[in-house]
């Protein structure tokens, strides 16, 4: 049953990505190439972030919340946004509608993130005899991350790819994008500074990801109306 547990957690962590790809029209338009390119860009971004973290951050002994360190980490987190910008605008995609482009990029981004951050702990930990809830919670976190990545990609495409936007909505778009981009810092603050336990943090992530997805969806629909 330990391999069984690993299998279950793997399905929870990586299943939604596959389901998303096959359920939406992404599979019809064969946007797999776009997703793979986005995944590669994520890898490069992660490497750059690692180098910056290693250079600028001090190793702290205690597990407390240090505002200065967290601020630095948030700044470095914006490299993520830069990577996403690169993936959305600079890579040459085939003729895919903007609607599908951001979804494919977001999907590739989230998949690479899950594989990089969650596959190794899952492989090493979930196959042992000892049972913990940790890997199931990690899978739920991966789901929340998927939704967040897609919303961030959508907001990003709104910001950089769409030329004519209603003036009133622009600040809201930037605000939402800002919130989604700083989600990692917010969760680490909750975990360390307020001392929330993992289930609570994961619940919070799921809730906010759904809320942000809904808001981005509305914004996207609102921006689509003038052109349609």
């Amino acid at each position: 049953m330990t391999v069984f547990h690993f299998f279950n957690c793997a399905i929870l962590t990586f299943g939604p990505h596959a389901v998303y790809y096959s359920a939406t029209p992404l599979s019809e338009y064969d946007t797999l190439g776009t997703s793979i390119k986005a995944a590669v860009v994520y890898l490069a971004t992660a490497l750059v972030k690692l180098i910056c973290l290693a250079t600028f951050l001090k190793v702290s002994e205690s597990d407390s919340f240090d505002p200065y360190q967290e601020f630095l980490k948030a700044l470095i987190g914006f490299i993520d946004v830069a990577g996403l910008y690169f993936a959305l605008t600079q890579l040459t995609h085939r003729n895919i509608s903007q609607n599908h482009k951001f979804q494919a990029v977001g999907l590739g981004w989230a998949f690479a993130d899950s594989v990089l951050h969650r596959l190794a702990p899952l492989w090493v930990g979930a196959r042992g005899l000892e049972f913990t809830w940790e890997y199931i919670l990690q899978g739920l976190e991966a789901n929340a991350n998927l939704v967040l990545s897609i919303s961030l990609a959508g907001l990003g495409s709104l910001m950089w790819l769409r030329k004519n936007k209603p003036k009133t909505l622009i600040p809201i778009i930037y605000l939402c994008a800002g919130i989604v981009a700083t989600m990692p810092s917010i969760t680490s603050y909750l975990r360390r500074g307020l001392g929330w336990h993992l289930p609570k943090v994961v619940g919070f992530e799921l809730f906010t990801s759904l809320v942000m997805a809904f808001i981005s969806w509305q914004l996207f629909a609102a921006c689509q109306r003038p052109s349609a």
Binding site: M1, T2, V3, F4, H5, F6, F7, N8, I11, L12, G15, P16, V19, Y20, S22, A23, T24, P25, V124, G125, R127, G128, L129, E130, F131, I136
Partner: protein, 564 residues
């Protein structure tokens, strides 16, 4: 056509081999460390003339239960975790005596029985509970070493981790569900190699020789007095058998007597006209096998020159009475002399020494006291002990209950005084006179801190002979100590022969895993499957419309009609 079909086939083969590789990799489940790891000590496994005794298996991989298991439960694949405080003899007799099938047994002993526990008194247990626990453990030990148990049996000490695990297990058992593969619970894993026979169990006898004063023109060999103690132990858990009283007290007394006489003999004016032979023998629990080998290695003249030998056995926890056990009849001149010397000194010191005579039966291989080995080779000998009756085979050999806290240093100090003064009386011929050579506050006084430090060291060293290699640092330490006090030290290395065969694997680590049941995993799979299906349907409906979802499940009927 051929090329088109080749490409998909190659792709398929590649795909299949990748999947096969993934399955093989995934199936290599390596057991990472459990949440709790505890040191456990195995019950001894040995044969007497081919008859097996003790625990015959070492590795455990079963679910755990406590004493509150359901009466009808099948325990053949369950490990029982039993704290000593809750053990009652009826359970022991029913399950161990009645040879019921069990997956394994783990006894949890209170910390006071651990020699690793620094400080004698443990804080939250009163002394009143020690005595009954000691008796229960003693009885349990005797039953365990004389029974053949075809499952692993281990001893562990109570600590916070395993106490919480035990509480959890009790809760689970109380709810009526035994822990099996389908109901979750705790799994105990001890990964130990299969126990192998110890090839040639080594016995090492250490002897120290302190020669007496030979006056010029004296052509006769000086008479010799021998003081002997056996230093090895035997118990239910060989890794825990420190034998503080049996025979740590004897060893310590021998070393202190050697120290005192070496002080006396260092000055030629006070050197007696007797040689002193100190012997630390091994193989004690096994009918004093080592002593016999040691005596057989003597040459004839030495053996004939021994006036008498005093063997020391358990002199650490007596109050008012000591016993001298002999096998030669009390009318024998030497025996009379010994008894007179010892009783007069004892009277001065305020206690009593009694004589006990037990005839030896040459045809019976059982040797109950060490002096019997001397007597079988016609050397006068006696054993000084606090025990009034001869112990049975493998009884009082320094097992689990024989710990430091049950030994009284003052008793050892008094015993040393008794032995030293009595020997001095004989050596210097002060019979009948009231002389105290080793008086307190003199430079020949018995040193209690020497006794205490050696007793502490011995109480932390398990000394079961088959597991003490011939180069063990403990044996080297004893040799060095005797070298300090005597002129000539010899080691005799032999192999334990006869009826005993031992098996190794005495300590291990117990990994405790909290496992989820198979039903939990199946349930989780069901939940995840339905979640993914719901997600799929949701996404299809929102992006492509409900019709597309329905069309996925309906085969296109129109095409068939067209071709037909």
């Amino acid at each position: 056509m051929a090329t088109v079909s080749k490409k998909p086939r190659n792709r398929e083969i590649l795909f299949d081999s990748v999947i096969a590789l993934v399955f093989i990799l995934v199936a290599c489940v390596d057991l990472c460390d459990g949440a709790t790891v505890v040191d456990v000590y195995r019950l001894i496994q040995y044969d007497i003339s081919g008859v097996p005794f003790g625990s015959r298996l070492a590795s455990i991989n079963h679910h755990a239960a406590s004493l509150h298991f359901a009466p009808s439960a099948d325990l053949s694949r369950t490990v029982l975790l039993i704290p000593l405080r809750e053990l009652n003899m009826s359970f022991v007799q029913e399950y161990i005596g009645g040879s019921k099938p069990l997956g394994g047994l783990i006894f949890l002993l209170p910390q006071i029985f651990s020699f690793k526990n620094k400080g004698g008194a443990s804080s939250n247990h009163d002394d009143g509970s020690k005595e009954p626990l000691k008796n229960v453990l003693d009885k349990l030990e005797q039953i365990l070493i004389h029974t053949n148990l075809p499952y692993p049996v281990y001893f562990a000490f109570e600590d916070d981790n395993i106490d919480t695990v035990l509480l959890d297990i009790k809760k689970n058992d109380a709810s009526g569900q035994p822990a099996t593969a389908t109901t979750g619970g705790y799994k105990f894993v001890v990964s130990a190699t299969e126990p192998k026979k110890v090839g040639s169990p080594p016995i090492t006898n250490i002897q120290g020789w302190l020669p007496g004063l030979k006056t010029d023109g004296d052509s006769h060999q000086l008479p010799t007095i021998a003081i002997v103690a056996s230093y090895d132990t035997f118990g239910a858990a060989p890794a825990l058998s420190v034998g503080s009283d049996s025979n740590g007290s004897g060893i310590v007394a021998l070393l202190e007597v050697a120290r005192l006489f070496s002080l006396l003999y260092s000055n030629p004016k006070t050197r007696g006209q007797y040689n002193l032979l100190f012997g630390l023998t091994s193989g004690g629990p096994y009918n004093y096998n080592g002593t016999r080998k040691w005596l057989q290695s003597f040459d004839q003249r030495l053996r004939e020159s021994i006036d008498y030998a005093i063997c020391l056995d358990s002199i650490g926890s007596w109050e008012n009475d000591l016993w001298i056990h002999v096998s030669k009849p009390p009318e024998n001149a030497f025996i009379k002399q010994i008894l007179e010397d010892f009783s007069s000194v004892a009277e001065d010191l305020g206690f009593q020494v009694n004589l006990k005579h037990k005839k030896i039966n040459i045809s019976n291989p059982r040797v109950a006291w060490e002096h019997e080995q001397f007597s079988r080779l016609r050397v006068t000998a006696a054993t000084l002990s606090e025990l009034s009756t001869a112990p049975e085979l493998l009884q009082s050999t320094g097992g689990l209950v024989d710990g430091r806290q049950f030994v009284n240093e003052a008793a050892i100090v008094r015993s040393v005084k008794l032995i030293a003064e009595s020997l001095a009386k004989h050596i210097y011929g002060h019979q009948g006179k009231n002389v105290q050579i080793f008086a307190d506050n003199s430079n020949l006084a018995v040193n209690p801190s020497y006794i205490r430090s050696w007793l502490d060291v011995l109480s932390r060293t398990p000394r079961v002979a088959p597991f003490l290699s011939k180069d063990d640092p403990f044996i080297t330490a004893l040799k060095k100590e005797l070298e300090d006090h005597t002129d000539e030290v010899n080691l005799q290395r032999e192999v334990l022969d006869g009826m005993f065969t031992f098996y190794d694997s005495t300590t291990a680590q117990l990994n405790i895993y909290q496992v989820a049941s198979v039903t939990f995993d199946l349930l989780l799979l069901l939940v995840l499957g339905s979640y993914l299906i719901v997600l799929f349907s949701f996404l299809v409906i929102t992006t492509r419309g409900l019709d597309d979802l329905i069309s996925l499940f309906r085969r296109p009927p129109s095409r068939k009609m067209k071709t037909a």
